[in-house]
């Protein structure tokens, strides 16, 4: 008897919960059907499905150059943020805990401060330095904002490191650089890749900073969409938005594929000895470290 009411209660909870979830998802996906409409007015469900919007986008110089700018900036951000972030993540593990806490506070600031304040601040500084509207300027700005996320992702990958492998490598004569690239990196590169892809996605989607820091020739895609929303009713916006949805999906699939490859190799190792440090790992470490020994 009680379980009837319990199940009824659970069902009653499901209805509002699912409605709320629908409220979240439906708008996200609504642009896709809209992008196949050919009318000048936005129609949620197109009457005559066609690829007109996508064709206009591909043939438009302005949109394509904006897309290219977004790619340039995103790649630059991913490279810079990942390099700085990886180094910092490793550095954080080696320093005194009090200083570490302070630095972690510093690294979380870009996430905590409202973007508009950062945007205005950088706009002012960049104008004085004369680099407003430059690609390098936006790349630096995006990198500063993406750094906290890269640190989080790489930091958690480092957390799962097996320290004895690196110690073994060092004790067998490898120097720090060799140890890092041949022993440590292969263990954390999924996290590093995740951080890089996240930085790419963050930069590609970024609006507020880009609004203030891009110039006429360096407009990124989100900025051009913003212009389209405010100044002209552009019927191809749904198609562009659908493309914007596609990018993180592609990145996600890329990430899952690469990390799945890695996991299947790791589990092949595990099936040999079912221990984290089996003979094969140790052999690899010795092989990697010994050439350094021989050169002595």
């Amino acid at each position: 008897m009680t379980s009837f009411w319990l199940n009824l209660g659970k069902a009653a909870l499901a209805v509002p919960a699912l409605l709320i979830l629908a409220f979240l998802i439906v708008p996200s996906l609504a642009v896709v059907p809209m992008s196949f409409s050919d009318s000048m007015v936005y129609k949620l469900i197109p009457e005559h499905p066609s690829l007109v919007q996508y064709q206009s986008f591909i043939s438009s110089d302005g949109w394509i150059s904006a897309l290219l700018n977004s790619f340039k900036v995103a790649i630059g951000t991913a490279l810079l943020a990942t390099t700085l972030g990886c180094a910092a993540a490793f550095g954080l593990t080696r320093i005194d805990s009090r200083v570490r806490a302070i630095l972690q506070g510093l690294f979380v600031l870009p996430q905590a401060v409202p973007s508009i304040v950062i945007a205005v601040a950088m706009y002012f500084t960049y104008s004085k330095l004369g680099i407003n509207g430059s690609i390098i300027g936006i790349v630096m700005a995006h990198t500063a904002m993406a750094l906290p996320f890269v640190l989080m992702i790489v930091g958690s990958a480092i957390h799962n490191l097996e320290p004895s492998l690196a110690e073994a490598s060092r004790s067998l004569g490898s120097n720090s650089v060799r140890t890092f690239f041949r022993v440590t990196m292969p263990q954390v590169y999924t996290g590093v890749l995740g951080g890089a892809l996240f930085a790419f996605h963050f930069s590609f989607d970024e609006v507020v900073l880009s609004l203030f820091l891009t110039g006429a020739s360096t407009k990124t895609l989100p900025v051009k969409i913003w212009d389209g929303l405010f100044f002209e009713v552009s019927p191809i916006l749904p198609a562009i938005s659908s493309l914007l949805i596609l990018i993180p999906i592609v990145l996600f699939v890329l990430f899952m594929t690469i990390s799945a490859n890695r996991n299947s190799r790791a589990s092949a190792h595990a099936s040999d000895g079912a221990r984290p440090l089996d003979a094969q790992d140790k052999e690899e470490v010795v092989m990697i470290a010994s050439p350094a020994e021989q050169s002595l």
Binding site: A17, L21, V207
Partner: protein, 280 residues
Amino acid sequence: MANKSFDGYTLLAPAVVFLCFVFVYPLIQVVWGSFFYGGFSFNGYARIWAVPVYRQVIGTTFRIALFSTGICIVLGYVVAYFISSTHGVLRRVLTAAVVIPLILNVLVRNYVWIILLQRNGPVDHLLSAFGVAGDSRELLHSESAVMIGMVSSLLPYMILSTLASLLAIPEQLRHASTSLGSSPIRTFRRVTLPLSLPGAAAGGLIVFIISVGFYITPALLGGRRDLMISNVIAFNVNETLNWKLAFALGTILLVCTVTAYGAYASWLKKKLISHGRLSY
């Protein structure tokens, strides 16, 4: 060990120096400029204090943020509780459903709401089918539209943090409560709710801090150039070029946000220490 520290600092140096130049220095210029731009004076702050429209904007900002946060807490709790009651594949699918909107660009999300909320749009038709009068259907370009947009952007964060705190409650506590004779509602009221509320409140605080700084959503859905603080700042930078005022407003927003975030961080740290998950 000293060697290890030195390595650490060397590795950290590029990132720290980079952040100081690219991020910290411009922010310092903002705070400095709020007092010293065009000569030392409190003009910026005085204007904010004296002219009523700025206090209105600050009030509007906090009001919208507060309401959006409240709605997020309630709706977020419902969804999070539901998800926590499911298991296995269903739970994973639902959690993925919550995360999906996060990968969407903020412009696209708000832009879809413009389409949905516009006159003769789907929501308009829906409301008129329910018999809502013509005037009250003016949803777009209003505070309500901004709140709808904000809630749809922030709800995933709220759901995830509430879900985390609900899932952290050991199952045995609920079992103990029901086996000792509590009805499910009583168990919820006396066991689940009090244990999950701190996590939900923490999520709420973060959501509130983020809402106060929103720029895109009020700009697109609000219908006015200067609905919330961030819009006024942008207006003063882009249109009136009143840097001092923009800096003053920006400093206020900066100080409030960072202070609130600091309070949240120290509360979180105390909580983690008391739960034995942090050792210093």
